[in-house]
Amino acid sequence: MNSYCELIRFEYRKILRKRSNIITLFIAIFITLFSCVGPLMGNQYIKGEIYETNYEGMKKDREYIRSLSGREVDKSLLLETIEAYSHIPHTDGKYTDTKEYQQYARTYSEVYYLIRKAYNLNDWKEISTIVEDNVNNFYHVRQDMVEKNIEDTTMSATEKANSVNLSRKVKTPFIYSYTGGYTRFFSQMYTTAILICFICSVYIAPLFAGEYTDKMDSLILSSKYGKNKLISAKLFTGVSFSILLSIILSAVSFVTVMIFFGWEGGNSPIQLYLPLSIHPLTMGQVALMNFVLIMFGNILSAVLTMLLSAKLKSSFMVIVIMTVITISPMLVNVSEDVLWIYHLSNLIPVNMFSIGNIIDVFSIDLFGFILMPYDIMLVFAIISSIVLLPFAYRSFKNHDCA
């Protein structure tokens, strides 16, 4: 056990002794910090003039929302919103640039977002068409919209029924709350996850391939533990490194975002962010789920990197292939019409990072078992990592130093 720990320690030293790796790590932390607070930089302009800084704007919105926090999203709040929006004059420009929006409606902008999604409004002006009876039925209207969305998919009847059942478990009425920290965290985590994935590829690619290029393979493979313990130590290093990096950069993202945007909202329903979501989950639960899937997606990505590293002779080629695997799914929009292709495409690590894919409207009937997308992603990431690891192991073990 001691020699195994010692070998792991040396593998970490190999990674961290490279100055370029240390610089990359600091750059990654800086990019994470910067992108967390990026939306707070710059100014809001109205008619070409600075109206407020983005930071001031965020603070103002936060105070407005906090002033409504704790209230039920009910007829009274909805009517207040409709009334507030009725003050906005019909202009050709952006309605948010009007004095009336700033004075009356801005406080209710997040409530308006719920209304817009539930009532399927294309334009803010349509808010005035919502009659009082309809306001009374907000949760019915929202549920109808959710079920319509489910019905419009190409899911099987069983899958649709499951999604509908799940959506009916969403607790109503929603308690309004400020959730800016969490919503910013959800947007930020996609960037952070891709950064983690890329850094893991750069750091892990030389784990095996580096031994070939450094011409250390023959020394290693002829040593006592070179064909067993060392390979396990390398695999452990790769997986643990991706876990550690996921934890570090996710923590940096979470703490930074919460410090700047506010810590509250963890117990609020996810529907305050995604009004038509079918999942009876809180913001905190979704944030945790997002983190877990990012971590396991990155573990899968790290295992793929190690497999390529053991197979190929060059770290550079491994990084190139992993970059293609990471970036290409972002460029391809897979249609939801052929669901099995769509679900398969969501098993690519980078697609596991998107909150939209994790808590999608879909249920998946897999050989009679009804599963949710996040279940499939998690199980796939774990199983495929476990399946691929022995291939990486064997590939290095059987490497011929010719």
Partner: protein, 290 residues
């Protein structure tokens, strides 16, 4: 202590690099001689288990080359190998020590002892990337001996070393051969001549000669001649005999050659040395030998 190589073969597509070699090695220093591409490195890699043979077996005291126990008895210095440039010599030996199953304390002791032995104690805390080729080679020899191996495979161990270092290592290897099997290949025929108890000569993937220095030199004893002849005779002799050495003198040419009987009237028989035998067998490569 017995290393048995049984009908070991390595074939790459149409080329047979090692052709059914069978050997039994016991304690002592074995010098492997052969020109470039004769299969020496391929043979050594297979003995070290880092290259899979097409057929045949390698066993040490009944333990197969693929087993951990075999590797535990092995020390290997490859011909062409690298280091972690960011590691110090001390770090590198500690890493190799942990790979070879040494405890941290034992690895530290052994690393310190070997760094002293190879003359790198003073620079043990410097990064390897600052080392010269000779220093790296010395570090390579140190790592090969870390686990006090029973089988020591050294592929060109003295390349990159200056003459003084070479003699130092020649003596060191000679001492090591007393209680272990040492197999070394080298460019330098004199290294083998001085320290190898058994010489193995390889050509085209096969062992063509095997024995002590006296035994294998016996093959050309009485057949090595030296003569000093005019240019015309020299041209004639060069065309008809394996030439070991040519030296141009003012109006004559000095030749050292191998022949069954005196090639000319002035030729005198001289004692054969290993280099004569080597050049005799690898005559085609005499100008560009290993």
């Amino acid at each position: 202590m017995e290393l048995i190589i049984d009908r070991l073969t390595k074939q790459y597509k149409n080329k047979i690099a090692v052709d059914r070699i069978s050997l039994t090695l016991k304690e002592g220093v074995y010098g492997l001689l052969g020109e470039n591409g004769s299969g020496k490195t391929t043979l050594m890699r297979m003995i070290c288990g880092v290259l899979k043979p097409t057929s045949g077996d390698v066993k040490f005291d009944g333990i197969d080359v693929s087993e951990e126990e075999y590797r535990d008895s092995l020390g290997y210095l490859p011909q062409d190998f690298g280091y972690y440039p960011e590691f110090t010599a001390c770090d590198f030996l500690l890493y190799m020590g942990s790979l070879k199953g040494l405890t941290k304390i034992r690895a530290k002791e052994k690393a310190s002892e070997l760094l002293e032995l190879v003359g790198l104690s003073d620079v043990s805390k410097k990064k390897i990337r600052t080392y010269s080729g000779g220093m790296k080679q010395r570090l390579g020899i140190a790592q090969a001996m870390l686990n006090n191996p029973k089988i020591l495979i050294l592929d060109e161990p003295t390349s990159g070393l200056d003459p003084k270092e070479r003699i130092h290592f020649r003596n060191l290897i000679s001492r090591l051969g007393k209680d272990r099997i040492v197999l070394l290949s080298t460019h330098i025929v004199s290294d083998v001549e001085y320290i190898a108890s058994t010489i193995l000569m390889m050509k085209d993937g096969q062992i063509i000669l095997q024995g002590s220095l006296e035994e294998i030199i016996g093959a050309i004893e009485g057949k090595v001649f030296e003569c000093s002849v005019d240019k015309k005779t020299a041209a004639n002799l060069i065309a008809n005999y394996p030439i070991i050495n040519i030296r141009e003198e003012s109006d004559r040419t000095f030749l050292r050659l191998v022949a069954d009987k005196p090639p000319c009237e002035t030729a005198v028989v001289v004692p054969a040395i290993l280099e004569d035998l080597y050049l005799y067998y690898f005559n085609e490569g005499a100008t560009g030998n290993e």
